[in-house]
């Protein structure tokens, strides 16, 4: 609080005092009191007035500073009215209790919508699990009766699966800390499972796949990593060009393991490469293909961040896209509040 503002606030009071002092001066002159005595009375008046103002200013400043400190130290700022001391005059107390009421009702609304959001999230998670049952039935039934038609159906169920996983992992994003299990995962097994899942899409799109250097093991959560790799492969299939080739290779780099998934597809514009991890960003590629949600890479990046995997995308328009996943070797990154198990 600045002194100037305080004084501006008190202008009516000061004016009132000046008027009263003038009136007193006129009255005392009229009763014939000497100039010196009158001046003395007026000086005493002014001293008392400014003394009073100064003390008020000082007290107010201390109080406001105290409140600001309380606010700064709070994590949940909306709890301010409950935490701060309610001292001051009647008017201030009235304002204070009004503010308290407003904040209470807001807190109520916030916790209600938080509950609603949690319910919704649980419902979505439940739903994705339930929809998997008929989906599994379709897949099994097709696999048992493989022909050209069922292969087409399998190609489509793969897409349903990908979208379903996006929903599930979106619902869980931010809750990764509660749901992961770090263990030693073989890149070879993981990549071959993932390729096997995308088999129909890759074969039917005549994509040549080459793998190398996958003998490394990394410490991570296999199901999250599987999701990430699946999404990257799906992107490579979606944004392919003629004579598509997909190369998946592992290598050791210093004290990290690097997994690269590289395609020779349509690539990403240089101006857009910085934004591929943004939520809902589809770019000119997505717009020209229409069926892009802009969620895949956003989710992958989010999950990688939570798992401590470094994810980078390199690309040249009309040439290639290379997604690099770097895993810290040996020791691994663990977020607080998570549990780890080595099986």
């Amino acid at each position: 609080m600045k002194a100037a503002y305080f004084i501006r606030d008190k202008i009516p009071l000061i004016l009132l005092h000046i008027v009263c002092a003038l009136l007193l001066f006129i009255y005392l002159s009229a009763v014939g009191l000497g100039r010196h005595e009158i001046l003395l009375v007026l000086i005493a008046w002014l001293l008392i007035l400014f003394g009073y103002l100064f003390v008020r200013f000082w007290a107010n400043k201390k109080r406001i500073d105290g409140l600001i400190d309380t606010m700064d130290s709070l994590d949940q700022k909306y709890l301010f009215a409950d935490v701060a001391e309610n001292k001051g005059d009647i008017e201030q107390q009235a304002y204070f209790s009004l503010m308290k009421r407003a904040l209470r009702s807001m807190t109520g609304h916030v916790s209600e919508s938080r509950r609603e959001k949690e319910d919704y999230r649980e419902f979505i998670e439940q739903w994705t699990h339930e929809i998997k049952i008929p989906l599994t039935s379709i897949i099994l039934s097709c696999e048992n009766n493989l022909d050209d038609n069922t292969r087409k159906i399998l190609l489509q169920t793969k897409q349903i699966e990908d979208y379903l996983e996006q929903v599930l992992y979106y619902a869980r994003l931010g809750n990764v800390g509660k749901d992961y299990m770090i263990k030693e995962v073989s890149l070879d097994e993981l990549v071959s499972d993932s390729l096997s899942r995308s088999k129909q899409a890759l074969i039917q799109n005549h994509i040549i796949v080459a793998t190398s250097g996958l003998e490394y093991n990394v410490f991570t959560d296999s199901k999250w990593l599987m999701f990430i790799i699946n999404q990257i492969i799906s992107n490579s299939v979606r944004y392919k060009k003629e004579n598509p080739v997909l190369t998946i290779s592992g290598s050791e780099k210093g004290d990290a393991i690097l997994l690269e998934i590289k395609d020779n597809g349509i690539g990403i514009r240089e101006s857009e490469i910085g934004r591929v991890f943004q939520k809902g960003f589809t770019g000119s590629n997505g717009r020209s293909r229409k069926n892009s949600t802009g969620m895949g890479l956003y989710l992958c990046k989010g999950l990688c961040d939570e798992l401590g995997i470094d994810m980078k995308v390199e690309s040249e328009l009309d040439k290639y896209t290379n997604v690099k996943l770097t895993f810290p070797k040996g020791g691994h990154y663990i977020k607080e509040s998570s549990y780890i198990t080595k099986l």
């Binding site: 699990h129 339930e130 998997k132 049952i133 989906l135 599994t136 039935s137 897949i139 099994l140 039934s141 696999e143 048992n144 493989l146 050209d148 292969r151 169920t157 699966e161 599930l168 749901d179 992961y180 299990m181 071959s192 499972d193 390729l195 096997s196 899942r197 088999k199 890759l202 074969i203 005549h206 994509i207 040549i208 796949v209 080459a210 793998t211 959560d221 199901k223 549990y339 198990t341 099986l343």
Partner: protein, 222 residues
């Protein structure tokens, strides 16, 4: 042939699973009465159990515990639940593997055979296949005919293996490619043609002619 017990309450999945396992050469038995699972388990004495988690009456974890208290039979959980806590629970109760729905059939079969292999219940695969005097040794990748023999590449061996397994039937190019993919050989249409040509040449070297027949639109046959 291994005997596999399927404990899954979704009828459709249960049936398709048993077809899948039967096609892969296993004997699949399903449980339809969920109140007497353990009694049935004792009666059937399977080599492997595929166990769902969400079941009527007892859930899969309880059943796993009950089975573990009387037997060491390998158990693979198959479930739609994919939270880590469930996976952790499955392993800590003595499950041997954990597969989430929707699963991919080749992956499921591979996991089944690797668990069986671990428990040594997997019958040894026939190491030598033979037909019309042509012998294929799977372990050494060598095909022989009479006195002569030639070494095949892994890819050529798998192609010949697949064709010989389906003796007399036409195997389409797509099926062949899919078969190779299941063995981590990521081949494509053009490469397959090259491999078939090379395989035929190698067979010719040891005096086997017209062993692999081609029919347009149908595929290959031996």
């Amino acid at each position: 042939m291994s005997r596999i017990l399927i404990i899954e309450d979704e009828e459709f999945i249960r049936e398709e699973l048993s077809i899948l396992l039967a096609n892969a050469g296993h004997e699949a038995i399903c449980i339809e009465n969920f109140s007497k699972i353990v009694e049935n388990f004792k009666k059937i004495q399977p080599d492997l159990v595929l166990l769902d988690i969400n079941l009527p009456e007892n859930n899969g974890f309880t059943i796993c515990m009950k089975i573990r208290s009387i037997s060491k039979t390998p158990i693979i959980f198959i479930t739609g639940r994919n939270a880590s806590i469930d996976e952790l629970k499955a392993f800590s109760l003595g499950g041997d593997d954990y597969i989430t729905k929707p699963y991919d059939a080749p992956v499921l079969l591979a996991r089944v055979s690797s668990v069986l292999k671990r428990s040594e219940k997997q019958p040894n695969e026939l190491e030598v296949l033979s037909q019309n005097g042509v012998e294929l040794n799977l372990a050494s990748c060598i095909v022989s005919h009479g006195e002569k023999s030639v070494e095949l590449s892994k890819k050529e061996m798998k192609i010949l293996h697949c064709l010989m397994q389906n003796k007399g039937k036409y195997v389409s190019r797509v099926s062949l490619i899919e078969y190779l993919w299941d063995y981590k050989i990521y081949t494509d249409d053009n490469a397959l043609s090259v491999n078939i040509t090379r395989l035929r040449e190698k067979l010719k070297q040891i005096g086997i002619l017209d062993f692999i027949q081609t029919k347009r639109g149908m595929g290959y046959r031996v």
